[in-house]
Symmetry: C2
Subunit: 449 residues, 2 copies
């Protein structure tokens, strides 16, 4: 906490203790929901109840959406079923759904029972969509109008649904069958004459997504077309909209997921995760790698004789394995990030594989020559130098190709290419490089001193 | 290209060949700029000139912002200085600035000479801000109003600057000294009475950034407060605004940068990068790793005697080095991603380091026991098993801590923590693990068979 945050917290505590509700409201009014959430989280717990009593249901709804998960549950607990129902009616359905999704079914039922039936039904519907789809991200906090409305009528409807129109900047236009037929921005409304018909000023080639669209796909649409909201339809009927702020969260979490997979961190470890949970999530990968390590060991043990005769071979093992692993990770990262922004077809893939083959040959030859010279100078053994150097050329080419082709194959079979995570590619490349290195060494053994 | 895209392209070619400009416009009208850009890029080059002739300057300005860089330059070249000046006047200044930044100074001067002086001056100003700052991302395509305006006057100004208000949803309010004092959303305008004063309905606690704010910081604001635009000020004077669509691009490119650094890919390699360029960008890291690999080799060579006596030690080398490297990468990924969304202070850092220490001990003990048992069964040698197992315990703890502390130290000194890239941490951990492993082995050598 900074000094300023400390001062604000102390000021708030004073107002709460002295029961100055009006002054408390004046202070709170000056802040954004995110800031209010931080104030709440910094406040000693004994002040939380009065803090909540002093807020309106509307303010609590805004606050709760910005709190960390544990605090969200605390707030709902403190409010009781009735008040929390009132607050939940005011929350964005998608935020509420993601708040509830990890609770027990009985607790979910209990909390939803305090809500208006039509609102709780919408939340239940959202929770029924598969995770990471458009259905999970959509909100019903938007205003729709029939196409035969005049601009005047649209403005009137907007005024009477003012609280539904806060974050959105479009009115969605539907026909008699509730089908989405157009969209009008608030700007269009301002610029139009009051008597104009909505159907004459609306943009009718609306781009929409279906509720089962993958969230990455939705993000791609928003990014591509610079939208700030995109409608969600089912059988052409408008069922919700997704706003750009949710998409930013999607982009961040998808990138974090990619990094988690590339580094085999295991899912969802952040600064707040408990040590035992973090260890438990990381262990499966490490144990898998341990067994793959044993495979490497077994391979080396096959070459025990070679190694006994030329112990110096062991000196270059980490270097060859490390570099092969690294070049594979480099290729992997290029492919994984490339697949996010590009649509791929056979032509692009062929070009990419050929490109990476060339890259592999180029870096293989450069590094190979370098290490041959170094090994020659260091150990004074030309044959050893050549074995190490030529091994590196071959393993770098193979490592580069493996890092390119494996994620592409996974992508082809609709498996997230990032699961061919860095460590897996690294370990695979380890094994390949050991086989090549010791294989070559054994072939040349007669020449090695 | 899909079949549908093929059909559209063929249809467009037909219209261009037959000179049907009106029908061409009808078709183009149905698409978003991104789609028009894809059509242009798919079109054989010989049709490009007429395609551009058939578009209005406004449409070309939209199109150019969505094209790949090479095509952007092609379009400017085909238009000639005068027409391209007209188009550039209509482009978002920030997009134009990033289009121009890699061109030669003389070419920039030539292109800017076709623009209105005041517009070209703004573009030059933007290009003078350091890369990756708010100044580089801001646009002047917004509408400002004085605070004493009535809603009616605001609407009139909005109508006369209609083309400046396309993508934004706010009017920015300034005082007599051009200082930013408030913001009014289009929704506020619609909901208000015509006679109301802007200063009475505006939101006056505007959150803004300065032109030299880092773009990651700007993204954090937008993400935190769910804004769709944020004003940029210099000495409290409004100089531009940044829109959420640019922020999505920032979030994507920052995540890609993190992945590039974690995997030491080298900067800016995508599917279109030429093989020789990609190899050249990747080589520096690989050569650095090669030399670090030599250090590993030198360390092992210090234990040549130990290794000669117990060649089996080599079997477990890749496993120990690999696992230590991996646990370091896991910790690194958690820290790097955590720093993006969290503000850190001493308390959080201490907690994190202690957490990771516990994680290290936990996974160290589990994996250590496992490998001791495996080594014992495999090699039938209890001492070897204990050496391997206890090495793994120690190296996993150290590896986990190194992956946590090193990026935090870098962060503390304002160095991007992701530059402590995966491979660097891996290699460092390689060296540490070899020292510990062979150190322990040498100590217990008398007992090893």
């Amino acid at each position: 906490m900074s000094t300023i945050e400390n001062q604000i917290t102390l000021h708030i505590i004073k107002l709460l203790k002295e029961g100055k509700k009006d002054q408390f409201q004046t202070v709170i009014d000056e802040y954004q929901p995110y800031d209010i959430a931080k104030i709440y989280e910094n406040l000693p717990e004994k002040h939380h109840t009065r803090f909540l009593i002093y807020l309106t249901a509307d303010q609590i709804a805004d606050l709760i959406q910005e709190l960390e998960h544990d605090f969200q549950l605390e707030v709902l607990g403190k409010l009781g079923v009735e008040k929390s129902g009132e607050v939940m009616n005011l929350m964005d359905n998608d935020d509420l759904a993601s708040l509830l999704e990890n609770l027990s079914p009985s607790r979910i039922e209990e909390l939803l029972s305090g809500m208006k039936i039509e609102e709780s039904q919408i939340v239940k519907d959202i929770m029924n969509y598969p995770p990471e789809t458009a259905g999970r991200l959509m909100t019903n906090r938007f205003v729709w109008i029939p196409q035969y409305y005049s601009v005047r009528e649209a403005v009137d409807k907007l005024k009477s649904f003012a609280e539904y129109s806060e974050t959105i900047n479009y009115l969605y236009v539907i026909d008699d069958h509730k089908k989405l037929v157009g969209v009008v921005s608030y700007r269009d409304i301002i610029l139009a004459e009051e008597t104009e018909k909505i159907e004459d000023i609306m943009f009718s080639r609306v781009i929409s997504v279906t509720a089962d669209t993958d969230q990455e796909e939705v993000a791609r649409f928003i990014e591509r077309y610079d939208f700030i909201a995109i409608p969600v339809v089912e059988n052409e009927i408008l069922v919700g909209i997704i706003t750009v702020d949710d998409i930013i969260d999607v982009v961040i979490s998808e990138a974090t997921e990619d990094i988690e997979k590339l580094s085999a961190t295991g899912k969802a470890i952040d600064f707040d995760t408990k040590a035992i949970v973090a260890a438990y999530r990381r262990l499966p990968w490490l144990i898998l790698l341990l067994f793959i390590g044993i495979v490497s060991g077994t391979i080396i043990s096959q070459f025990e004789e070679t190694l006994e005769k030329v112990v110096a071979l062991a000196f270059f093992m980490p270097m060859i394995a490390g570099m092969t692993g690294n070049t594979g990770t480099q290729s992997l990262a290029v492919v994984v990030r490339g697949l996010i922004t590009k649509e791929v077809n056979k032509k692009i893939i062929t070009q990419l594989v050929i490109r990476e083959l060339k890259v592999g040959i180029f870096i293989g030859v450069v590094c190979g020559i370098l290490i041959t010279i170094i090994a020659l100078i260091w150990r004074g053994d030309a044959i050893l130098g050549l074995v190490v150097g030529s091994s590196l050329v071959i393993t770098l080419i193979i490592g580069t190709l493996a890092g390119t082709i494996i994620p592409l194959i996974l992508y082809r079979f609709n498996i997230d290419p990032a699961v061919a995570s860095g460590p897996l590619i690294t370990t695979l490349n380890d094994i390949l490089s050991l086989l090549i290195y010791f294989g070559l060494a054994t072939m040349f053994l007669a020449q090695l001193t």
